[in-house]
Symmetry: C2
Subunit: 337 residues, 2 copies
């Protein structure tokens, strides 16, 4: 049974564990600094499929199956799936999970989808509606580039503020049953839409940073805690530029996160060696960093309290073409052990 806290937050009162997790990523991600944290690194972007979209679906399917096997459960043990991705009509998720034979909730939260699915899963388990829920998302550099920007074959030049969409899928098993590592979800803040009037589609980090900052400030206020309550605060995925803006905006409101703040988009690539400009992005970015490096550090007790803040840019080429700004949203999930 949950409790509403403050204006936008909820406390999970029964034990809701992160029982299992898995990630599958592409070759570029597999060359980055987090390479040892992923469950599978594919040889190429096609993953033995004929299209990028099918490759992305296959990554979702593989990650889903790994989450179940690592959690020691069968498909029939899963009560619900929460999932979504960046492709129009979220086809990566639906085709990737079409054989799951499990009650299915489709989400659209852009790059905030991992946090959104984790928040909703935790609420449903806490509310007594489920024992096991899988929250899983994905993105793919090639399928995203051609849908949102240009076909990659054109070799279009990218601006310095552009982010690189992560090829990968990651997800977690949210459960009322522990795997004895005792990692659980405790504090949730669900974001509002923030419109700062930013229209530069090659600078998503700047568009999402105010939403991340607002959710962070609300989280601290609603729970009456300071940033040092957490060992680590991780946004996903603002990139290097957005991370800086977020940190400054939060500081301007009286909270200093400079000592314990990271961003999934910054963590996943080596900015010096890998040509990714402002860093990684995409639903698969925060998902594979959470369901890899971050969960692994929680399990090993290198982290005891983590605040995971998924950030999304709500826009489409049509909305931008019609002169609309880029809307930002961010959801925060506090994970403890």
């Amino acid at each position: 049974m949950g409790t509403k806290i403050g204006t936008q937050s909820a406390e999970i009162s029964s034990p809701v564990y992160l029982r299992s997790y898995a990630s599958v990523v592409g070759p570029k991600e597999g060359e980055g600094p987090l390479k040892y944290s992923f469950d599978e690194i594919t040889d190429d972007e096609m993953y033995d499929e004929q299209t990028w979209e099918k490759a992305e679906s296959k990554m979702v399917k593989t990650a889903y199956s790994k989450i179940l096997s690592k959690g020691g459960i069968t498909p029939s043990d899963v009560d619900y799936i929460f999932t979504g991705d960046l492709l129009n009509q979220c086809i990566a998720s639906s085709f990737g999970l079409k054989e799951s034979q499990t009650s299915f909730f489709g989400l659209y939260g852009a790059c905030s989808t991992m946090a959104e699915s984790l928040a909703l899963s935790s609420m449903l388990v806490d509310g007594g509606f489920a024992q096991n829920i899988v929250a899983i998302t994905s993105s793919h550099y090639c399928s995203s580039e051609r849908q949102y920007r240009f076909p990659i074959e054109l070799g279009s030049q990218r601006t310095p503020t552009a982010q690189w969409t992560v090829t990968g899928s990651g997800g977690l098993l949210i459960s009322s049953i522990s795997d004895n590592n005792n990692v659980f979800v405790k504090k949730i803040t669900v974001g509002k839409i923030v419109d700062m009037g930013i229209k530069d589609v090659n600078n998503m980090g700047a568009a999402m940073a105010p939403a991340a900052a607002e959710t962070l400030i609300t989280h601290f206020k609603d729970f009456n805690i300071s940033p040092d309550y957490y060992d680590l605060i991780v946004t996903g995925d603002l990139g290097s530029l957005g991370k800086e803006i977020c940190s400054e905006l939060v500081l301007a409101n009286g909270y200093d996160i400079s000592q314990n703040y990271e961003d999934c988009g910054v963590m996943i690539y080596d900015a010096k060696k890998q040509d990714v400009h402002a860093g990684g992005s995409g639903c698969g970015c925060s998902a594979s960093v959470l369901a890899g490096e971050l969960m692994s550090r929680l399990k090993k007790a290198e982290l005891n309290k983590l605040l995971f803040v998924g950030t999304g840019a709500l826009l489409s080429p049509v909305s931008s073409g019609q002169g609309q700004s880029i809307l930002g949203i961010a959801h925060a999930v506090g994970i403890e052990r």
Copy 2:
């Protein structure tokens, strides 16, 4: 606190009321048999905006504001919004609700989104996470046609099995507080993805009917009830062809729904006078029929038990172009008074 029932269902145990509802539709819908049930009928498809997408967003915005005012609450009383639509990246919902200043969950369930949002809202209220949640969806004939099929200016001929995307938005206020009409959500069945291998994108009804039938059969089995438990069973939106297929599939499994079964896509237009072929479709179809005619009949006690089954076709022009079939999904929400 909820209870998981059977394989895919949940029972809402505390009172979760449908406290308010509203709908805004376009001129064609306003000429149909349900014209007296809508809160607003627009003069044209543009609704004083410059693009169809912006018109759709404005319908969402207007419907949202009417739900609040009819429910006698202010924007700050709303704990969460669940919303989604058919446009790429769900821009109708996000731009329509960007000024809501309320915690926002984006969904993608194609035309099943109204039932999906209603199910999740009910679970969160029952779980103690919220007092008031708005579930709202939309669709627009012109924005959908150009995105999924052809620009309407081409005047392309439609097949007899094609459905007409409803222009409209509808939504409900799900609350722990009653408006004294005592209409509440009781029984929920969350659908799985059903893939029957159907690839004809001009026959969505046939693609969705097996999913609707499977969810109906599961609902009857999970709760151990027969179809006559409900005064009315309404799918939304299979259209005339899909409705027939669904009825036959359910009968082949031993349940006869022929006496108390309707479909939102059939109800919303006059098949003889309005040139809509197999009937209405789109997220806005089941939303405006539920948040209009059906809620009005429940309030007036003309209906005491309604089973609302939202049906969605999970596909995109890209998935169809790559030879993938049309996936179906359906969620059932039992509403009583």
